[in-house]
Symmetry: C2
Subunit: 471 residues, 2 copies
């Protein structure tokens, strides 16, 4: 897919690249890699956006390494593209102007866990599963769960969220402070470890979701949660998407602090049945999870069951046994792979939008009608408590007409969400793939302001150029 | 108090002011006021920082009025200082370079309440009490409660929080979107009404806490909460501040979703006893409130009581009756006035800091020792769940030595908080009073970045100049 970028930069000269390559090789040894295979793995891999490989891949082991890499790149005007686990969908890690991919996978130390303060300090390459593994013994967990075992640096950079954002918020709500390597290689700290502050502009949240375009995330202080005493999960079929969405709205309005509430449409349920060997009724389905005390989750589950019944949902099958819960949620987490298995050989082109919850059923139903008309195969899963849903068109990449149909479908999906006061992406981010929607979403004034911010903080367009905004 | 500002601007010329005055009078009629009394009311009134009155006060009734005011001011290079209810503490509404105070009190329409989406759209002059009055009939409320009946525009501008931030977050967590009048009089929207988005830089949170220095807040979309089915409140004495803080940490770690948890030190309890005619034991005291279902709040209260007892606290006296709850919390809300009444004729100089909760008791106890040594009268109240506390030195403004003692006490208080990874202000904001601490708190690189942001978005330093950062 060709992305319409109007670059304020071109590729670096061969001389500049050679100087950076030589300098980094001297500094990093075999932690600088230039083989084509590794370079291509460090560009976009999960969607149909063209793979635009960096010229080399650097593996820093420390903040000082990161600073040295950026300084050398800045000295030779060579782009810097941060890389976590490469699980982003919109071309975030592509290198359209070449340059150095900075892979943070060796920066995976958990620097401190402050149990009394419910926070921790980590390096950006720590993945969410590794962090939760580490935290289990102290009875804490980090709640944000985008599905993939993404790095927390990447999750911060894309303002990720996922299944339990409805209860615990998104990355913007769970990052307390960041250390940032600026485009000139300086190190700055965005905030203190205090739980709240009114001491000036909110630099932390300016970097959360900035997708590496303003600087590299070198260290992260995250809020943590106590592992709930009890967790209860369940599934509930509904006759229609609307009924499931209405039950979701009523659940949240009634103050039930639901931890996860996920919609699978009928096609997605069928995919899960096949892939995960389940025998669920193939109708819209809510997967729910409650966190609290033993008595609390029981009360929540009972109330949810009553609400579901009011909207013709049910029977609500709930299980507090860890193995039942795991089996159900494993199926939900495998939904992406289950979908892919619906049409072997196809490419899944994951996209997401988010609308006010009151418009959600209308938006999903119109999208389903559009899918049917377009002749696409495209299951839907939704973080419905937030009004956020994903569509995964399964595309035969050898069929030009089908590719075109999928592309125009996504255009209409985004337009539909924007018409409903929604956003072109609830959690995947902009990358390259959604840049073209930003002007319509934000308006020319706000988009110009984003450009002004980029210009002010990275005037040479060194950091992940060609993403979010062009200068 | 003289504030050390190195202005990038001087006062406007008489000609410029005359041109703005004439233009605004033609546009606003008697909604432009130039009397000294009104001008002085629109400058700082609640602390010892000198009152620096604006040259005139404009009362816009609409976004279009706001834009016209800013355009006229921009055309003549006259500063614009936003004004909500004037309840800020750090000189936020002062006009050190003169200019136009923009009083939003006539912009108090509630534009929309979206009950299904749990959000509302309001003008900036709506106060939190007015909003909650309006919302009561639909069973919703806006949780942020800084004590004063502040305007929501002002609360947004200062990133306010207060007693129930421990449960519901601060303004940064509860503002979904803003309309902003930029320094050139353009109107921009920072985000959509969708509950979450990853579509570019987080402009919303850049403006939350920007204290009017980047633009005027013209419209606010706020998240709302359902009024809990049950609310239970109680008070619990502790032998020491440390015991109360340790009980707070244990409460939060154990996952009790406490809605408010407030510490009053012994002096503050004495003040409340006198002012609110109570007979509480004059020892450190936690005021707590629980929100949930009937069964839920009962369970929360019982567990809290058990935890308090583990830390030698108690008896824990709790009441779910609305009138009992109101009486207790009224005393807490009147704590400021109760303190002032401890020493009639004195000026209360409210200040706040915030530290990681694990350092809180150490910080408060060291502060109490400092108060004793300094010979000051200064009660302490704390939003202890967040590690945030307020000290209110009661100062005889005719006594130069006492003023000096209070000033140096605040210097030490801030230094102590910063030494403990804390912040110079948890919720009051920077204004003029705390500018001098920002470099030590954030470091020169981050402070320079804040300057770069100001420079990028308000290069002429038109919006509330002399606050947060100087150019």
């Amino acid at each position: 897919m060709q992305i319409d970028v109007r670059p304020a930069r071109s590729r670096p000269s061969d001389g500049a690249l050679e100087a950076v390559r030589t300098g980094l090789a001297a500094m990093l040894g075999n932690r600088l890699v230039t083989s084509l295979a590794v370079r291509q793995q460090h560009a976009n891999t999960l969607t149909w956006i063209d793979n635009q490989a960096p010229d080399m891949v650097a593996f820093p082991e420390s903040v000082a390494d990161m600073q040295a890499i950026v300084r050398l790149c800045a000295a030779h005007d060579v782009p810097v593209v941060p890389f976590g686990t490469g699980t982003s969908f919109e071309g975030h890690v592509n290198a359209p102007f070449g340059g150095v991919s900075v892979d943070t996978s060796l920066m995976k130390r958990i620097i401190a866990v402050h149990a009394e303060d419910l926070d921790c300090v980590i390096e950006p390459g720590v993945t969410r599963k590794a962090l939760n593994e580490h935290l289990r013994d102290v009875g804490l967990f980090f709640p944000i769960d985008p599905g993939a075992d993404a790095s927390l640096g990447g999750m911060t950079a894309t303002r990720a969220s996922g299944t339990n954002a409805v209860r615990y918020g998104t990355m913007k709500d769970n990052v307390l402070a960041l250390k940032i390597v600026t485009p000139t290689g300086e190190l700055l700290t965005t905030s203190r470890r205090a739980k709240k502050s009114s001491a000036g502009y909110d630099l932390t949240r300016l970097y959360v979701g900035s997708e590496g375009t303003l600087g590299l995330i070198a260290e992260i202080t995250l809020k943590l949660q106590g592992i709930p005493e009890a967790i209860s999960a369940g599934i509930c079929p509904f006759p229609t998407v609307k009924a499931a969405c209405d039950a979701t709205i009523a659940t949240i309005q009634s103050g039930i602090p639901v931890a996860r509430i996920e919609l699978l449409d009928a096609l997605q349920v069928r995919a899960c049945n096949i892939y995960s060997k389940l025998s669920l009724p193939e109708t819209p389905m809510l997967f729910v999870e409650f966190h609290g005390t033993e008595a609390g989750v029981k009360e929540q589950a009972e109330r949810f069951g009553e609400i579901a019944a009011e909207f013709a949902g049910g029977p609500f099958d709930w299980a507090t046994r860890a193995e039942d819960r795991s089996r159900l949620w494993q199926a939900r987490h495998d939904a992406y792979w289950a979908s892919m298995a619906l049409r072997p050989g196809s490419k899944g082109v994951s996209t997401d939008v988010c609308v006010p919850v009151s418009r959600l059923s209308e938006c999903i139903e119109a999208t389903q009608a559009d899918i049917a008309e377009s002749g696409l195969v495209a299951p839907i899963v939704g973080h419905v408590g937030d009004g956020n849903f994903h569509v995964l068109p399964l595309v035969d990449m050898d069929d030009e007409a089908e590719i075109k149909a999928a592309k125009t479908f996504i255009e209409r999906l985004v337009a539909r969400a924007l018409d409903m006061e929604g956003t072109c992406t609830g959690e995947h981010g902009v990358g390259q793939g959604k840049m073209k929607y930003l002007e319509r979403e934000h308006g020319p004034e706000a988009l110009q302001m984003m450009r002004s911010l980029k210009q002010a903080l990275d005037p040479r367009n060194l950091m992940n150029p060609g993403k979010i905004v062009t200068l």
